[in-house]
Symmetry: C2
Subunit: 380 residues, 2 copies
């Protein structure tokens, strides 16, 4: 039997009853039935982001969701600051430049999070900056940023909008949009929300909504003013991805039932368990500030990534993510974002353990899964 | 028993085995399995558009697909000509204006198609026009444009790119992208392709691809140069809507099996059958040039649209589309685009017939379905 299991940071596995929702006959998007679904989705998205403000749903990938915030909030030549500590941070530098903004880049070494000092310096040197973009969980490096602390620093030292790429963070890391003073937060559907890719979600503060009024960058499909106007009637300006909205409705109901604090705690525990398992097998964690969504691990010496990945996938059916750019072949990333429980972590570590064994890596077989069990039970 | 049936021009009904495809466990979009699917989709999309040129797949609604063509092919202040004969044509005037283009509008009365003379005049008066946008099937009015003839006129009289909104036309109306000299054609997933909304498809001629090289409008998510570059490796620049691509793969295989000419013929026959049924019940067709995708019908005198629609929906489970703007309450639109066969047309006409009867409309009950049967059999 060849059983597949996905441990990638998006798409993440979809709960079985949510998959079945997408197999139901389609309904029309301008109908009372769909309006009822979107009303519930809109309400539950506020819970997910811990906000009383609107959270808009767009039909696009997360990248499209982030683009919507640039084109809808800013004008040509506006200065914004963006943190680049990986493939996604890099994109949030390139994209606004391409769209006509003046982008101040805070370059951060891969595997490190931006520091308080870096943010303060950038704000001091660019007092006219309209916004700072932070990546809460940088998927490419498995590195988390302390959004709570940095948001406070930004709020205390400037009028810049606090904009957060929450694409692989929402649902894994604590995020309190209103309480922390965040202005913009974007996520995608194929991450903590546990459904297929195709939807982006954008939370907006009143300051962000006010910025939209004076924004002059050209926009149409991604015009959040249009989206906000429709949102107020629980509608969308363009035909939405109906089946994905029906799926996210079911997923959000699961999230409410489990409770967002419990979900954050579950992810934190799963991340710590993976790290404990990795350490017990002699693997080193790549990042200084590892994410709760995805754990980045150095490929050990004497193990060849391609062979490792082939065995992991073909023999054990497990898909993880490799390293990117300079870290291709050097690190790999184990995702535990979304529809995973503690036993899934045992499974992932067990498969990695067997693969390392097959690759001839010298270690105490069984140490990985035992460390996971010890972490979860608190025993030793 | 309350059985629902959708006769709306998008979303259209989804074949049962295609629905089930979307209930399968998700796979990663950077994997050999997904690459194989996208390779087949890319090949079959060429067949659908009858082209040897690339057909790009974007994660967005059809509106996003059309936007991608404006931002990717043109530069600020470029002149384009757009035909506005309904809600969608109107959007293809507003959108490029908002994005910074100089738009010459050919205003066409609702329910009429643009004439040869209107196109020739616009070309004569605007010799620098970079493109003309035509709506093949204007959904809001159920009106078809003779793209084949107009494309020839445009090609013979100018260097303007022939750009076609094929959103509700592809799969219903004959369209031969290469043979007819079309440069750009866009469709959406929830139309003739029979899957849920969330994907747009953009076919591009070599002239259109050449235009992309000099285009200066700002773009990122909708940059078709990026999409084309990835397309060549059967990949996408951003995370695609994986489950919808898996669905469209199955739908395209159905389309190949039936054969595109057969599909066009089926739609033509279904449209004629609906018109025959409508006429037999004493209903008048709204358009001078009715579409094969959707038939627009005047709400008869003494019948109140709201009551009619309520009975049709609540008693007979049938959803059709109402009129828009000035025609709200005055016309309604019966869709026969996508997954419909001849017996479905009997069903739709039977339900409309019973609803008219319930509304007190005076006619020979049974005449509608008889006319449909006569049309299909050629008998009388």
């Amino acid at each position: 039997m060849y059983k597949r299991r996905l441990f990638t940071p998006g798409p993440t596995p979809i709960p079985e009853h949510v998959m079945l929702k997408m197999a139901e006959p389609i309904i029309h998007h301008r109908s009372p039935e769909f309006n009822e679904i979107l009303t519930r989705v809109n309400e539950n998205l506020k819970y997910l982001f811990q906000t009383a403000q609107p959270v808009l749903t767009l039909t696009s990938s997360g990248t499209g969701g982030v683009e919507s915030t640039f084109v809808s909030l800013f004008s040509p030549e506006d200065t914004i600051i963006a943190v680049n500590g990986g493939k996604f941070g890099e994109r949030w530098v390139k994209m606004p430049r391409t769209l006509g903004l003046n982008v101040i880049e805070i370059k951060v070494e891969w595997g490190k999070a931006p520091t308080r000092e870096q943010i303060e310096k950038a704000l001091r040197e660019n007092p006219t900056a309209k916004a700072i973009y932070l990546t809460h969980s940088e998927t490419s490096t498995g590195t988390a940023t302390d959004v709570k602390s940095l948001a406070k620093i930004i709020r205390n030292n400037s009028t810049a909008l606090v904009c957060v790429d929450g694409i692989t963070a929402i649902g894994a890391h604590e995020l309190r949009f209103d309480e922390w003073g965040i202005d913009v937060c974007v996520t995608g559907s194929q991450k903590g929300l546990m459904i297929p890719p195709g939807l982006a979600f954008v939370a907006l503060s009143q300051r962000a909504i006010a910025a939209m009024e004076t924004s002059k960058l050209p926009k149409f499909y991604f015009d959040l003013r249009k989206a906000l106007k429709s949102y107020k009637k629980n509608d969308t300006p363009w035909t939405p991805a109906v089946s994905l909205i029906i799926a996210v409705d079911a997923a959000l109901q699961m999230i409410r039932t489990e409770g967002i604090e419990n979900i954050w705690r579950r992810h934190e525990r799963m991340a710590h368990a993976v790290r404990a398992g990795a350490a017990a097998m002699g693997l080193k964690i790549f990042s200084d500030s590892p994410s709760y969504a995805v754990t980045p691990v150095w490929v050990p010496d004497n193990v060849e990534w391609k062979q490792f990945n082939k065995i992991l996938k073909n023999t054990y059916g497990i898909t993880v993510a490799g390293g990117q750019d300079d870290y291709s072949g050097k690190i790999f990333r184990i995702s535990h974002l979304g529809y995973y429980d503690e036993l899934d972590i045992v499974t992932a570590v067990a498969a990695i353990e067997r693969t390392l064994f097959d690759c001839g890596w010298k270690f105490d077989i069984g140490a990985g899964v035992r460390a996971v069990q010890e972490y979860f039970t608190g025993g030793k």
